[in-house]
């Protein structure tokens, strides 16, 4: 009996040691991969920061309105943020690669899913950035055109255009990420439809007097200018 217990114990210790001996090299490989990954990720961060500084990415983001959003959220400047994001994504990728070496069943599928998801995440962020860039540019162009054409409430017009483009970019981003695709699509459809319906009602009913005054004013003034020449001749 005693011998049997001792034999089982010996067997268990042997299996544990064997398992540990089997696991230790893999763990060392994981550590090596993680360390190599850290070095690669750090170099990637430095390289990306340099490239972004070279193309004046911070100024581009400022023009797009992305910098202001980051400042409000107490986040670092866009170049720094993009650098850190690249660092963590790259390092996390290496760590997960190392974890897959451990051979833990079930974890490998998750690692594979993460690597499949990574390009979509990058594309989604790119879409969002382009959306913010486009929204900032178009909103400013609309604001300037409206001010120079003496259109009433130019800032409201500009903000509305910016919001529509941002909502559109956000819905595209979620669609790319595959997050609640149907919900986002329906929500976007409802929101966009509501905005358009609201505008139609506002202009058609609430703003009919304003619209009439605006048109009368515009054409009457144009006629008046034609008759009396009340505009500057700049050149």
């Amino acid at each position: 009996m005693r011998e049997m217990i001792m034999s089982e114990l010996h067997q268990a210790v042997l299996e544990l040691v064997r398992g540990f001996a089997h696991f230790l090299p893999r763990f060392i490989v994981l550590l090596i991969i993680a360390f190599a990954g850290w070095v690669v990720a750090y170099l990637l961060q430095i390289f990306l920061r340099s490239i972004l500084r070279l193309i004046h990415f911070d100024k581009l983001s400022e023009n797009a309105g992305a910098s202001q959003l980051l400042t409000k959220a107490a986040l670092p400047p866009p170049t720094e943020l993009a650098g850190r994001f690249a660092f963590w994504i790259a390092w996390l990728g290496f760590i997960l690669l190392g974890v897959s070496v451990l051979g833990i069943s079930g974890l490998q599928d998750q690692v594979a899913k993460f690597f499949l998801f990574l390009p979509r995440l990058v594309v989604a962020l790119f879409i969002m950035f382009l959306g913010l860039l486009g929204a900032g540019f178009v909103a400013r162009a609309a604001l300037l055109a409206a001010v120079n054409a003496n259109v009433p409430s130019p800032r409201l017009l500009s903000v509305s255009i910016r919001m529509v483009i941002i909502i559109f970019a956000v819905s595209m981003m979620f669609e790319e990420l595959g997050v609640a695709e149907q919900t986002v699509l329906v929500a976007f459809g409802i929101a966009f439809g509501a905005v358009m319906f609201g505008l139609a009602i506002a202009f058609g009913l609430g703003g009919k007097d304003l619209a009439r005054r605006f048109l009368e004013d515009r054409f009457a003034r144009a006629q008046h200018r034609h008759e009396h020449g009340d505009e500057l001749s700049p050149l």
Binding site: R140, L143, N148, A149, N150, R225, D230, L232, L235
Partner: protein
């Protein structure tokens, strides 16, 4: 010889010059004088202008080979047909002097998205090798044959390379010229050129060739504002620049929508032309007069109805609504001062503040702090504010008073030039 030049022209201006235009230029051969007439739907005014040009050439240059070149941007009112049908024989019959040499008249159509009429005239000058070229505006309904002599003779007989006009015009006409283009060009380049963006001007064949070899037509600002680049090339290239008094300049009917395109093709081009010429203008100090035939400009004083309320409202609303845009362009001090004056009934946009504003816009344009066209568009409401102050200041002024006012503004621009240099080099 002509075939070689033709081949050169085809290689250099391959997509711009049409085969038909090249054939017409070949049939002319060589010319001593070229007069260019850019048009776009000018059927109402073109005939008397062509008549004045032809009479001027026959009367003042009877022994020289001359060609009138019409470059049309795609008229739909028969302008081109009128230009081509203009018969030189009618002029000869009515003129007391007979031309001893041939006077050619040719017409071409160009694509405005690829270049300006000036590009056609310069390309023609490269081929025809004239001694002198002139450009006449299709809106110059007050033109007389003397204009041709006044523009071309300084080039033809006195070796000037660029002749710019001075006019007799209403004190409140051309406010963009008197309040921005003239003072800034004078402060930057050190030459007192009254009309840096001229509708009528003359130049030597030598300057034309030099400009064609240097100028790139790829960028939009370089195409739409090439006249400004042309003047800048003449100044910085050490060419002889002079002025000639032409007479009365017509008041062009303007609409509010005309202001931004006008600012774009003049101020935008002026700002853009500062970059390639920086090494030349950055060292210049003060300003001096240039040789001028006749008066340096005259002002007429008859009452002119201008809607000041509208100017004030657009200035005030522009400053309020565009705050976010101005924050990218202007310094905090300048923006704060504008926000202080703009809402007031008696808004006073001083010469000093105006000069600083323009220099901050020029530096912002150079650094592309936002889209360059947006910077130019943002200037329009501020220009209305400055124009309003100019109208109020000179309401009761005599011609001498207006001249003094403009001189004061020019001196402010000259005084603040180091500020522009400081802004320009900041961060470089």
């Amino acid at each position: 010889m002509m075939e070689t030049k033709l081949a050169d022209a085809r290689s250099g201006e391959d997509s711009f010059l049409t085969d038909d235009f090249l054939r017409q230029l070949m049939s002319v051969g060589e010319a001593d004088i070229i007069v260019g007439l850019p048009t776009l739907d000018n059927a109402k005014t073109i005939s008397p202008i062509l008549d004045a040009i032809q009479t001027g050439l026959v009367r003042f240059f009877p022994r020289d080979r001359a060609a009138i070149i019409n470059a049309d941007a795609g008229s739909h009112d028969g302008t081109r047909e009128l230009a081509m049908a203009a018969a030189i024989d009618d002029v000869r019959r009515n003129s007391k002097v007979s031309a001893l040499r041939t006077l050619h008249s040719i017409s071409t159509q160009y694509d405005p998205s690829e270049g300006s009429a000036l590009r056609s005239f310069l390309a023609a000058a490269e081929l025809l090798r004239p001694r002198a070229c002139a450009v006449i505006s299709p809106d110059a309904t007050h033109i007389t044959p003397d204009w041709i002599a006044n523009l071309l003779q300084p080039v033809y007989r006195e070796s000037c390379d660029l002749v710019l006009p001075t006019y007799s015009r209403h004190k409140f006409d051309g406010i963009l010229s008197t309040n921005l283009l003239y003072p800034m060009t004078r402060a930057i380049y050190g030459l007192r050129i009254r009309e840096p963006y001229a509708a009528e001007f003359a130049f030597s064949g030598h300057l034309a060739n030099d400009f064609m070899s240097q100028h790139s037509w790829r960028e939009e600002t370089a195409r739409i504002g090439c006249e400004t680049y042309f003047t800048a090339t003449a100044i910085t290239g050490g060419y002889r620049v002079c002025q000639s008094f032409l007479g009365v300049k017509d008041r062009t009917e303007a609409r509010p929508a005309d202001l931004v395109p006008a600012i774009r093709r003049t101020v935008g081009a002026l700002f853009a032309s500062l970059e390639p010429t920086f090494s030349s203008w950055s060292t210049r100090k003060g300003s001096h007069s240039i040789p001028t035939t006749g008066a340096e400009g005259e002002f007429t004083l008859e009452p002119l109805p201008i809607n000041r309320t509208r100017l004030r409202e657009m200035f005030a609303s522009g400053v309020a609504e565009l705050e976010s845009v101005f924050r990218s362009i202007l310094s905090p001090a300048t923006l704060a001062e504008l926000q202080r004056i703009a809402p007031r009934e008696d808004a006073y946009y001083s010469a000093e503040l105006w000069a600083k504003t323009i220099y901050e816009f020029a530096a912002a344009f150079h650094k592309s702090v936002i889209n360059r066209d947006h910077i130019i568009q943002a200037l329009a409401p501020l220009f209305r504010g400055r124009a309003l102050t100019f109208l109020v200041e000179n309401e009761q002024s005599t011609a001498a008073g207006v001249e003094n006012n403009i001189e004061g503004l020019c001196l402010e621009f000259e005084r603040w030039k180091p500020y522009l240099l400081e802004l320009w080099q900041d961060g470089e």
